[in-house]
């Protein structure tokens, strides 16, 4: 199969999976097989593209013109190929996890859940491979809409409110800011294709007000990047089932956002133009403030998922920061951060879900001593948290390192301080959790010494599918194995970061 | 110019404006539906008068044609028609689209293409085209005159009215009228014909309006606008003025407790009269 076709099929296969899931509505096993099958094929297809891109090719597909001069077109470049492969790979992991979680939790409307997932992954891959701003915008919007039913999955008042904020902010920013920005760019440059070196150079006055204004439209218009103050959708989206939070709100959706920011900075503005004009200077600081403020909020959240959500807001701004630094190292740091943070944060979310399924606990303060009965879950959590903080030997350390280099390159020494401070805060609010779980003793014990709440608080009439290993009361296997896998992935990426770095290097062509 | 004379000279316009305002005022200010329709009628009639007055020429007669003229005029027709056809001087206005080969498909039978008849901006046919100035300064009741034979001016165009046959010939005739022959002055028939059409439309509108008024009277028992509004408010909110409304008892947007629609499908007049919210 040629890489051109692989691009097309990598979006078509999830949609086939969509119909497969629909078809096997009444047979859960076949239904899940359809999801997993589609996931496996998609991963292979994205790997084909990844390989081709690594060999220097730029496979492309052009479908048809929707608006004159603007086709729906795809073109794989390193950044997109990495993001697509990451998305497809983690989709499989997440699907396995979903099966455990959704069944363990007896969720309703599981068919709808899996159907929406297929559309979401297809559109995330569409964003990844998009060859022009128009295509990116189209798939960006489809991604928003397809994830809306997932966010409101529970259908209660909280879910409705969360969904309203989710859709309101994401649609509001994309229609209100991103769309005019895209049209404006098209009007200025006469093209909207992603071109190495950017398309705006020479078309706008580098010192004029248009450039920073346009950059602002993109930075805030891409609501999925969750730059403060447009981040509230992300904590609100946590009403969704954990697999949604784990995959969409740690990988597909939010990464599509920062990926778009990065892609637009690199291929529309061009690193050079931004570096010369200094248009991004203000946004570096918005991102920096966003990093620190979100971390500060995260420290005060007792709900584990909310804490992780704010941590995500903070970590996403690293990517935006890297993009806005307008240096090669900054962009590389941002690009690596997409991959590293995806693995790390997904691990944490899946662990949070496993804790919820296994122990029905969602507050951090209730997790004392829980590590003793759920060592695998908390072990994975520990590794994931280390990666997020940026400690070696985990993948997460590289992007932090590169960002610091980038900040130094850009002469923004104060940013170095911000990055260091943020890492310390990460330690405080993330690493404290496994430490608490392993080393502190639980608050309550029943007479026979069991930890209260592992079985006792399960709703009456429900049997859990938990696998019991002696005294251990781990969550179901299907919800524990995936986070362990991603945690190991984070470990592996530390050693293979160099390969990824080389792979991504072409995106900085033309940068300093 | 004497301002008074200026005003008196244009008395037809003043009549038109006064009538128009009376009509418009009635439509807006009166709550009674019948009076509204009467106002509407006055309003329309004022426009009719306006049209008629611009077509009328002092001393002009109805555009009726004598046989003698007809024969002489028809005798001149052919050669000039060709002339006008050959000499098409296309104005830019519609020049860009009308010259394709398809134009031939729409020619009338005698081969006189539509181009020839529409693109004569540069020809003497329109010599009087600026007759608007004349219209503005024209004396009372005096419709604008263009050059004789100018079909676009208010001046008479006798062949139109009578020949009734081939329009192309008519057109050509319009060009070739010998001024000597046009002794009687004709009023411009076209505005009058237009207004005949408009009167028909006006009558139809009045009829529909009155029919609606009858139906409203059947359904509400009144044709006063404020009472109708009160009735609707009472049906919907339970009070005449929606500002006095208390929060609806059964949550918002509930279907009013009227008879279920199935019952209404019997289609008796009573339910028609009460409407869906009538019973509450």
């Amino acid at each position: 199969m040629t890489a051109d076709l692989a691009i097309l099929f990598s979006m078509a296969v999830p949609l086939v999976g969509f119909f497969g899931v629909w078809l096997f509505d009444k047979q859960p096993n076949l239904r899940e097989a359809a999801t997993l099958g589609a996931g496996a094929i998609t991963l292979i297809l994205t790997l084909i593209v990844f390989h081709a891109v690594g060999a220097g090719a730029r496979p492309e597909v052009e479908l048809f013109d929707v608006v004159s001069g603007l086709p729906i077109a795809f073109r794989a470049e390193p950044l997109g190929a990495m993001f697509a492969t990451l998305g497809a790979g983690l989709w499989i992991v997440n699907s396995i996890y979903s099966i455990g979680y959704m069944r363990g939790h007896h969720e309703k409307h599981q068919t709808r859940f899996y159907m929406c997932f297929t559309v979401a992954i297809a559109s995330a891959i569409g964003v990844a491979y998009s060859a022009n701003l128009f295509t990116l915008f189209v798939f960006y919007e489809v991604l928003t809409l397809s994830t809306f039913p997932l966010v409101t999955h529970k259908g209660d008042e909280a879910a409705r409110n969360g969904g309203r904020i989710y859709l309101g902010i994401l649609m509001g920013t994309s229609i209100g800011l991103l769309l005019p920005a895209v049209v404006w760019t098209f009007a200025i440059a006469g093209t909207a294709d992603f071109t190495p070196g950017g398309i705006l150079a020479g078309k706008v006055d580098a010192a004029g007000p248009v450039l920073p204004f346009l950059l602002g439209l993109y930075a805030f218009g891409i609501g999925k990047a969750a730059l403060m103050p447009i981040h509230p959708w992300l904590p609100n989206a946590m009403v969704a089932p954990t697999p949604v939070s784990a995959f969409l709100h740690a990988v597909a959706v939010v990464k599509a956002g920062v990926f778009s920011v990065l892609k637009i900075v690199v291929y529309i503005f061009g690193i050079d133009l931004l570096a010369i004009s200094g248009a991004a200077g203000g946004f570096v600081w918005i991102a920096a403030v966003s990093i620190l403020l979100a971390s500060a909020i995260a420290m005060n959240k007792d709900n584990l998922k909310a804490r992780l959500a704010y941590s995500t807001v903070s970590q996403l701004s690293y990517v935006t920061l890297g993009a806005m630094l307008a240096t090669s190292m900054g962009v590389m740091g941002g690009a690596l951060q997409i991959a590293m943070h995806a693995l790390g944060k997904m691990t944490l979310f899946m662990c949070a879900g496993a804790i919820y399924v296994g122990a029905h606990k969602s507050l951090v303060s209730e997790m004392r001593g829980l590590g003793r009965v759920m060592p695998f879950t908390f072990g994975a959590f520990f590794i994931g948290a280390m990666s997020i903080v940026g400690l070696p030997p985990l993948g997460g350390s590289w992007p932090k390192f590169l960002l610091m280099l980038g900040a130094a390159d850009a002469g923004q020494l104060a940013i170095l301080g911000v990055l260091i401070l943020s890492s310390l805060m990460n330690v405080a609010y993330l690493l404290s959790i496994p430490v608490m779980a392993f080393y502190m003793s639980p608050d309550e014990r029943t007479d026979d010494g069991r930890v209260l709440g592992l079985d006792d608080r399960a709703p009456a009439g429900e049997t859990r599918l938990g696998v019991k290993w002696g005294a251990l009361k781990e969550a179901p296997l299907l919800t524990v194995a995936p986070p362990i896998a991603t945690a190991l992935g984070a470990l592996l990426l530390f050693f293979f970061a160099n390969a990824l770095y080389d792979f991504l290097l072409p995106i900085t062509e033309g940068g300093r | 110019m004497d301002p008074l004379q200026f005003i008196i000279d244009r008395y037809n316009y003043w009549i038109f404006i006064v009538l128009m305002m009376i009509g418009l005022y009635t439509v807006i200010a009166r709550g009674n539906l019948i009076k509204k329709i009467i106002g509407l009628n006055i309003f329309q009639t004022s426009v009719f008068i306006y049209y008629i007055s611009i077509g009328k020429i002092t001393g002009g007669t109805a555009p009726i044609y004598t046989t003698a003229h007809q024969e002489k005029l028809f005798g001149h027709g052919e050669s000039h028609e060709r002339e006008s056809h050959d000499g098409e001087g296309h104005g830019g206005g519609h020049g860009d689209q009308s010259h394709g080969p398809e134009a031939a498909g729409h020619e009338s039978d005698d081969g006189h293409g539509e181009d020839a008849s529409t693109d004569h901006a540069a020809e003497p046919l329109h010599a009087g085209a600026s007759n608007d100035a004349a219209a503005l300064t024209a004396g009372a009741g005096e419709a604008p005159h263009g050059a004789p034979g100018d079909i676009h001016a208010g001046a008479p165009n006798p062949p139109d009215a009578l020949t009734g046959g081939d329009p192309a010939t008519t057109e050509a005739l319009g060009l070739t009228i010998n001024p000597d022959l046009v002794e009687p002055i004709y009023s411009n028939p076209l505005p009058h014909v237009l207004i005949l059409t408009a009167i028909v439309v006006g009558v139809a509108t009045t009829a529909v309006g009155l029919a609606l008024a009858v139906r409203i009277r059947e359904a509400y028992g009144t044709i006063e606008e404020d009472e109708l509004e009160d009735a609707d408010n009472i049906a919907e909110f339970g009070v005449a003025d929606p500002r006095d409304r208390e929060p609806p008892p059964g949550g918002k947007g509930e279907r009013p407790d009227g008879p279920p629609r199935g019952a209404k499908l019997a289609g008796d007049r009573l339910s028609t009269r009460l409407g869906r919210g009538g019973a509450s």
Partner: protein, 508 residues
């Protein structure tokens, strides 16, 4: 002279002549089939016309073989061929759609009359569009308006407010038409002709500076007000929400898509073909009158729409707002703006018609068109719910739908015209559309259907079923069109682009 030469007149003459026969049928079902066939034939003719105009250029047809400018000319170019295609297409679908819905809303004996009025309404709208004679526009406009008043009033059996709505519509519509006629009178007095092309020629002839004089300017003002009333442009829209809300459901689906669009088309035709934006006063009028009207409509009407409990009224207010988009496109006075306007005329017809059809399905089963009827619709009437969601997203302007195409071109026109602020106002107002459409979609998706009370069951007391196929199929054809034309814009954007170029070229 072959029948093919008569093509421009066929879509007008056929329904006009055949409409009375519908009354003679005396049987609702037969009249329905008859109306669908006639409207379908008109649609086929319009499609052929469009194909021919695309291939061969402007068609001029002399009615009764009286050559223009004395005779009445039917002049078909791309702009009106596109509008005719929309009108006849929506009419056909609405006619096909109407039967199951309308027979529950009016008396059986009225059915043939309904279909006769429906056909005449379509004839009038097509006539307005096709004619190249200014006074003829008035005649056809009144033919369509009179039949529309009757159609709206037919809603009286379900809700007597239809009568007052129709009466108000009649008063406002007649005022509008009369203003229009005054404008025509002034034009006639100034130029001595009623043929559109000829008026144009007369206005550009003569010594420089002679035209336009104050009479011509006054004429344009009257025409703008008259057509503004018919088009329900913002401050002149008061007749519209009630007329759309209380008209029989199938009627709303048709007139919402067709009648105001035709009025906007007439405005475009007069502004650009007859007067032409090369006149300074037109330019000033566009900038200082039409732009504020358009913007006020976009915001005011959209905000009012947010607070409507009645979905049909909400859609009607949304139409006022959407008319604002069309007027905004016109007000740029550029080719791109005009193109965007024409695209939106076509696209908005598709989405609004589909939305009203979805409401009609709810009305059929539940007997209400308030928000309460939409609770949990996915669980009761999934196909209707999906149709509403898709066309609602189209109204918002989500990619892959026609609404997005409209918005894109409008934004592009705004930036091209050097008015980026207009672009931001456009998106700001479409955010309001997100709110009012999202509100209903949220009810559809996230609420549970009422389990007790009147709305727990359908109007006959049975469990709520999906709407019949005879309604679903036309509705989904429209929804399909919403998506198809959102992906393939060859037809709409390209034709609208060429039409806009021709219209603006006419002004040079």
């Amino acid at each position: 002279m072959t029948i093919a030469d008569q093509l421009p007149v066929l879509p007008i003459i056929l329904p006009l002549v055949l409409a009375p026969f519908a009354i003679l049928l005396r049987n609702g079902r037969a009249a329905h089939v008859f109306a669908v066939v006639v409207c379908g034939a008109a649609f086929a003719f319009c499609a052929m016309l469009l194909a021919r105009v695309t291939a061969e250029g402007v068609i001029s047809y002399a009615l009764g073989d009286w050559a223009p400018p004395i005779g009445i000319e039917y002049r078909v170019d791309l702009a009106n061929a596109l509008v005719m295609l929309l009108v006849s297409g929506v009419a056909t679908l609405a006619a096909a759609f109407s039967y199951a819905s309308i027979r529950t809303e009016i008396d059986d004996r009225q059915l043939p009359l309904f279909y006769a009025a429906f056909m005449i309404c379509m004839t009038g709208l097509l006539g307005v569009t096709v004619t190249g004679d200014a006074f003829n526009v008035f005649v056809f406009l009144e033919i369509s308006s009179l039949s529309t008043y009757a159609l709206v009033a037919l809603g009286a059996r379900v809700d007597r407010r239809a009568l007052t709505a129709a009466f108000n519509y009649l008063v406002m519509g007649t005022l509008g038409a009369t203003f229009f006629v005054i404008g025509l009178g002034l034009i006639y007095q100034a130029t001595g002709t009623l043929n559109m092309a000829d008026i144009r020629a007369q206005l550009s002839a003569g010594p420089p500076g002679a035209m336009p004089n104050s009479m011509v300017e006054a004429a344009f003002a009257f025409i703008l007000v008259g057509m503004g009333l018919k088009a329900a442009a913002f401050p002149m829209h008061l007749w519209m929400p009630n007329a759309y809300a209380y008209a029989p459901s199938a009627v709303s689906a048709f007139i919402a898509a067709a009648s105001t669009k035709v009025a906007v088309y007439v405005l475009i035709r007069f502004t650009f073909t007859i007067f032409g934006s090369d006149f300074d006063f037109i330019d000033a009028m566009l900038t200082y009158v039409l732009t504020p009207i358009a913007l006020a409509g976009m915001f005011f009407a959209s905000i009012v729409a947010v607070f409507q409990e009645d979905v049909k009224r909400m859609l009607a207010y949304s139409s006022v707002g959407q008319i604002g988009y069309m007027l905004l496109g016109i007000s740029f006075g550029t080719e791109a703006g005009l193109q965007a306007s024409l695209i939106h005329i076509f696209n908005h017809g598709l989405m609004k018609s589909a939305l009203f059809m979805a409401v009609a399905c709810v009305m059929l089963r539940l007997g209400v068109h308030t928000c309460s009827g939409f609770h949990g619709l996915t669980k009761r009437m999934p196909f209707t719910a999906a149709a509403f969601i898709f066309s609602g997203l189209s109204l918002v302007g989500v990619p892959l739908t026609v609404g997005f195409v409209s918005k894109w071109y409008l934004l592009q026109a705004a930036f091209d015209a050097g008015r980026p602020w207009a672009g931001f106002l456009i998106v700001a107002s479409s955010l309001i559309a997100v709110v009012y459409v999202g509100r209903v979609i949220e009810l559809i998706l996230l609420r549970d259907p009422p389990s007790e009370g009147l709305l727990a069951n359908d109007v006959d007391g049975n469990p709520v079923r999906e709407a019949p196929l005879s309604m679903l199929i036309p509705m989904w054809v429209l929804v399909g069109a919403n998506i198809y034309f959102g992906l393939r814009t060859d037809l709409t954007a390209e034709i609208a682009g060429r039409a806009a170029a021709a219209l603006m070229g006419g002004a040079q």
